[in-house]
């Protein structure tokens, strides 16, 4: 049987989780589990559209900047006396607009998504600081903040509301990617864009849609982040784009497109989250956690490669000994 990398990451996740239960006091407590998963809520949310994008051979580096813009807007509009119920749709619309800009530049102008989203990474982060400057807005009332903090969980479980939202969206994304024509078209686009086009897939429209969804969810992640920390800042989530991409790639989604599973991506996100929590509980320095993330990432691309090489070598040797 051939071991698939996404299964391996899933197994690794379970192993790390069980190690935590067995060795670390307090890991299994409701509060800690709620904290551990809520702590990566925004990265996890943004990883879902990123998975679909990477499968289609695209990338969106502007997600964390859109989170910052969403956060800055939430804060500034709240400060201006808007009702929260009005703020959220406005922020989501801005996310859609940002996604449209990315998608338009990629599909209509025909630019590589990496180059486009490096540009919008600077642009959206810049707009965030234009909106809010260097200050912070912190006086969000309990009624709204409680939906994102890690002390409010679904009764009887350790699941916080952002995590529940993630589970729902992950289920939807999994169905879309693996059980619909749209999902199959993403794999087709990622594997061979020209072939997909000639097979009748509306490549441009699909890509545009992906960027819009990515912008939308990133902006919403900005609202979640703001409420979770009770602080709106233009530099919220700076550098998260790397973490989001790292999680997705760790889950075995091929950066060249055309390959990967949503299960793998989710396992990758959770692995980074649980590992981070476990290392923190065991007083492992933050720097070492960063190194572990990097090593995992390198291992995630190198191991499948090594397995193939070794099995090919064994195959050759077996063939040589029989002849």
């Amino acid at each position: 049987m051939k071991l698939r990398w996404d299964t391996a990451v899933g197994v690794l996740l379970v192993a790390v989780f069980l190690t935590g239960l067995g060795t670390t006091d307090g890991f299994a407590s409701r509060d800690n589990l709620a904290f551990a998963f809520n702590d990566i809520a925004e990265v996890a949310l943004m990883a879902l559209p990123m998975t679909l994008l990477v499968v289609a051979g695209q990338v969106d580096l502007s997600v964390a900047s859109m989170l910052g813009l969403g956060s800055a807007l939430t804060g500034q509009l709240w400060d201006a006396g808007w009702a929260f119920e009005t703020i959220v749709p406005v922020v989501l619309l801005v996310g859609v607009a940002g996604g449209l800009i990315n998608g338009w530049l990629v599909t209509r102008v025909g630019l590589p998504s990496l180059a486009v989203t490096i540009g919008t990474l600077a642009l959206y982060r810049g707009l965030a600081s234009v909106v809010l400057g260097t200050g912070a807005i912190t006086d969000f009332p309990e009624t709204y903040a409680k939906w994102a903090v890690d002390t409010t969980t679904v009764p009887g479980t350790f699941l916080t509301y952002p995590v529940v939202l993630f589970i729902v969206l992950a289920a939807i994304a999994a169905v879309v990617l693996h059980a619909t024509g749209l999902g199959r078209s993403l794999f087709a686009i990622g594997a061979q864009e020209d072939a997909a086009y000639f097979a009748g897939i509306r490549v441009k429209r699909v890509k545009l849609l992906l960027f819009v969804v990515s912008g939308l969810i990133s902006a919403f992640a900005g609202v979640v982040f703001t409420l979770r920390y009770g602080s709106a800042r233009a530099d919220n989530g700076q550098g998260f784009e790397m973490l989001v991409i790292a999680s997705v790639l760790l889950g075995g989604v091929d950066f060249d497109g055309g390959k990967g599973t949503l299960f793998g991506a989710v396992a990758g996100v959770l692995l980074i989250g649980v590992l981070k929590n476990l290392l923190t509980l065991n007083d492992v320095a933050n720097e070492v956690q960063v190194i572990v993330t990097g090593l995992l990432l390198v291992a995630s691309v190198l191991t499948p490669r090594l397995i193939t090489t070794v099995s090919a070598w064994r195959h050759r040797r077996a063939a040589a000994s029989t002849s």
């Binding site: 025909g110 600077a122 642009l123 070492v288």
Partner: protein
């Protein structure tokens, strides 16, 4: 060997038309650098008219000093990007090398050359690891160098433990390199220019340099033509790492103060500079001159906005918008060109 853009459905032209078509394409690429230089000139002129102090002695010196390190990094990055790869670890390499050099000189006086050499070696070490993983592991460059970014950054933070190197600990000879000048031109931009010119010469003239373009244009064709792809890609990463490490040593000389997260997040600025400079992210085209102009343009935008007293909050947004405008215009011009060429050869 000449390099042309890879385009699906490129016309199969008769040899003569092909030659004139090629010279036309060449002209466009040259125009690419000319247009960046033109944009840069306009920007400088406009800022100068609005605020004459922008171009006094100190102003020019600042412009050149600000650009020097980014230019170096952009030169290293272009060599990697030309081979259709990417090196996201450059920012963390600068950080690690600057700290290593700072630690090395702190309190004791080693010669300047030793310090530069140390920086170079630290960077080359990082580059060879990334390069070996990419070329021999045959894994996606973006994933590997993103992993290396975390690993190097982690090692740097771990080593530094929040410690900071201060200018007072750095020997005067090193600081002199950062602040000194010859004939009014500071050393740093001179060094950057020397590295730039040498790299451009190698890429243009040497067989190994041309092979980098061949790899980027079409790895399969390059392999069939007998180009030692793995060795060349490894070389490109080694070079990018060494240049970044060297830039780290210069960072110490320029600023004197070094903390663990120097150049944190620079990888994307460097890639922007390269892209603005006309080095295609899909490999095979572009020159280090263009990349250096791109770097100069990006830093000059920053300085100009500061001099014009544009709210600093606007700087990122404007830089991002300009980057998008630059690559869009470039793309549109190229598409038009290809269409025009196709029409000509169809005739």
């Amino acid at each position: 060997m000449s390099v042309t853009v890879e385009k699906p459905g490129k016309p199969a032209a008769a040899p003569e038309t092909a030659r004139s078509a090629r010279s036309l394409v060449d002209a466009v690429f040259r125009a690419r650098e000319i247009s960046i230089a033109g944009a840069l000139l306009l920007l400088v002129l406009f800022t100068w008219i609005a605020e004459p102090r922008f171009l006094n002695d100190q102003g020019i010196k600042d412009l050149l000093l600000n650009a020097a390190i980014l230019v170096l990094l952009a030169v290293g990055q272009s060599v990697v990007v030309i081979t259709r790869n990417i090196d996201l670890s450059v920012g963390s390499v600068v950080g690690l090398s600057a700290f290593a050099c700072g630690k090395f000189v702190s309190g004791t006086d080693h010669g300047v050359l030793t310090v530069l050499l140390l920086g170079l070696l630290v960077g080359a070490g990082c580059g060879i690891v990334s390069g070996a993983l990419v070329s021999f592991g045959r894994v996606p460059a973006l994933v590997v160098t993103l992993g290396m970014l975390y690993i190097i950054q982690g090692v740097d933070y771990w080593w530094a433990q929040g410690e900071q190197i201060n200018a007072a600990d750095v020997p005067q000879s090193v600081l002199d390199l950062g602040s000194g000048s010859v004939l009014g031109i500071p050393y740093l931009p001179l060094i950057a220019f020397a590295v730039l010119a040498a790299t451009a010469y190698v890429l243009r003239t040497y067989r190994s340099g041309r092979e980098l373009y061949a790899i980027g244009s079409s790895p399969e064709a390059a392999r069939l033509a007998g180009v030692p792809i793995r060795r060349r890609v490894l070389g490109a990463y080694l070079f990018s790492g060494a240049v970044s490490g060297f830039a780290g040593a210069l960072w110490l000389a320029r600023f004197g103060t070094v903390v663990a997260d120097n150049a944190h997040g620079w990888e994307l600025t460097v890639v922007s500079a390269v892209v603005v400079g006309g080095v295609a992210i899909v490999g095979g085209t572009g020159t280090v001159w263009g990349a250096a102009l791109g770097a100069l343009l990006l830093t000059t935008i920053g300085s100009a906005l500061a001099v014009l007293k544009v709210d600093s909050f606007w700087q990122d947004a404007i830089a991002g918008a300009l980057l998008l405008a630059a690559i869009s215009v470039d793309r549109i011009v190229r598409v038009r060109m290809t269409r025009a060429l196709r029409k000509r050869s169809a005739r």
